[in-house]
């Protein structure tokens, strides 16, 4: 076997092995997307009911609460960025990071100081590499976030917004995550988590302009709101984490699918080249034999004369 042919054969073997791996990863990601989607769906009843309740208190009472009132001058805002722990997900993480950077830039242009909170190793690595300050970071649960994880993430944010800005607290919280629109579409977006604009929440909960009943609050509207809002934030963070996880798996699936396709194409091209090399080798051998034979014939014919 010629050297050229051997090189092609070796490359085909290695690409075939890679293709097997990416194919397996694609399949794993596909099954995980379904699982993650199911989790998003399972968490929806709680989120809807909670939104309903928040709307009810917000519109049904004149309570002023730090979590619903807009500070007159916002000096510091927190940005919570949700990325994944692992890569191999196409542009998933870079899109989320880009979105967060745009948001940070916009906020800084408005004269606000920005504290960055990050979930996921990829985001942490990105910020550490650029030696930017991270207020707090969490890693290790982005593939399958649980409600306890969401609580862990939400706790310092709620604490920060309840603190005075002069003592290191923040006036508003933004969240950047990847929304799971469909299997094919996931978009990175930013959203203001707090202070809550109740009109928007109300619009989300009741698009048809249904009138809310006059609730009786137990023990009081303030206490209910006090207890309700942190839960609302947690549930929003939980929902964002779940959507992010589903999006990540979908992105991985897509990335691995194109990797598998590319590997298939590469194998095809390489086998074509290998075939051509083999043909060339055979042709050369034949012409060598023919050439050798005729040279021999010529030589014997010459000696006869």
């Amino acid at each position: 076997m010629g050297a050229q042919l051997r090189v092609y054969k070796r490359r085909i073997r290695s690409v075939t092995a890679t293709k097997k791996i990416t194919k397996a990863m694609e399949m794993i990601a596909a099954s995980r997307v379904v699982k993650a989607q199911r989790k998003v769906a399972a968490s929806t009843p709680y989120a809807t009911e909670l939104t309903r309740a928040v709307t009810a208190v917000g519109t049904g009472s004149n309570t002023k609460h730090p979590l619903t009132t807009q500070a007159e001058t916002v000096t510091r805002s927190a940005v919570l960025l949700l990325t994944s722990d692992r890569g191999l997900a196409g542009a998933f993480n870079s899109n989320a990071i880009k979105q967060a950077e745009q948001l940070t830039e916009r906020l800084e242009r408005e004269g606000k100081q920005v504290d960055t909170y990050i979930v996921g190793r990829r985001g942490v690595a990105h910020y550490n590499f650029r030696e930017r300050k991270i207020a707090e970071a969490w890693t290790g649960f982005t593939d399958e976030p649980s409600y306890a994880d969401a609580k862990k993430v939400a706790a310092p944010l709620i604490e920060a917004i309840e603190k005075n800005t002069a003592e290191g607290g923040v006036d508003e919280i933004h969240i950047v995550f990847t929304e799971f629109v469909s299997m094919m579409t996931q978009t990175a977006l930013d959203d203001r988590l707090l202070p809550l604009s109740l009109d928007e929440v109300a619009k989300e909960a009741k698009p048809q302009g249904e009138i809310l009943p006059l609730y009786d609050f137990e023990p009081s509207a303030e206490d209910v709101l006090d207890a309700l809002l942190p839960r609302y934030v947690e549930s929003r963070v939980y929902n964002a984490l779940l959507q992010s996880a589903a999006s990540k798996h979908a992105a991985t699936r897509r990335a691995m699918k194109s990797a598998t396709d590319n590997a298939g194409e590469l194998i095809e091209t390489l086998s074509r080249l290998a075939n051509a090399a083999r043909q060339a080798e055979i042709t050369q051998e034949i012409s060598e034999i023919v050439g050798g034979a005729s040279a021999l014939a010529d030589a014997t014919a010459g000696s006869d004369r």
Partner: protein, 124 residues
Amino acid sequence: MAAELHVALVAADREVWSGEATLVVARTTSGDIGVMPGHQPLLGVLESGPVTIRTSDGGTVVAAVHGGFISFADNKLSLLAEIAELSDEIDVQRAERELERAKAEGDATAERRADVRLRAAAAS
């Protein structure tokens, strides 16, 4: 009896139970509250404790609920909890072990949680 209310018991990550009921008793921060069909719209903060649901077919469902809210309007009652378990889902032995451990470590929240679980399991 015709009057019944629709109950949805929802935990953060799943819907635990839903169906028709005639009476729901839950513990709010200001005491136990019983809700029957036609109750005035209500929104309250729940303590961790057992919730008793009397279903319209005469059965009783008991659940251990750890913190959350009760909201009632239009004959629809929702119980929102971060953690909620039906009494028959509760692993009594595990809860007992938890209770022992929590008592030994002086962990008040864990102790209360285990205690609520055990009481809910015993009530059904």
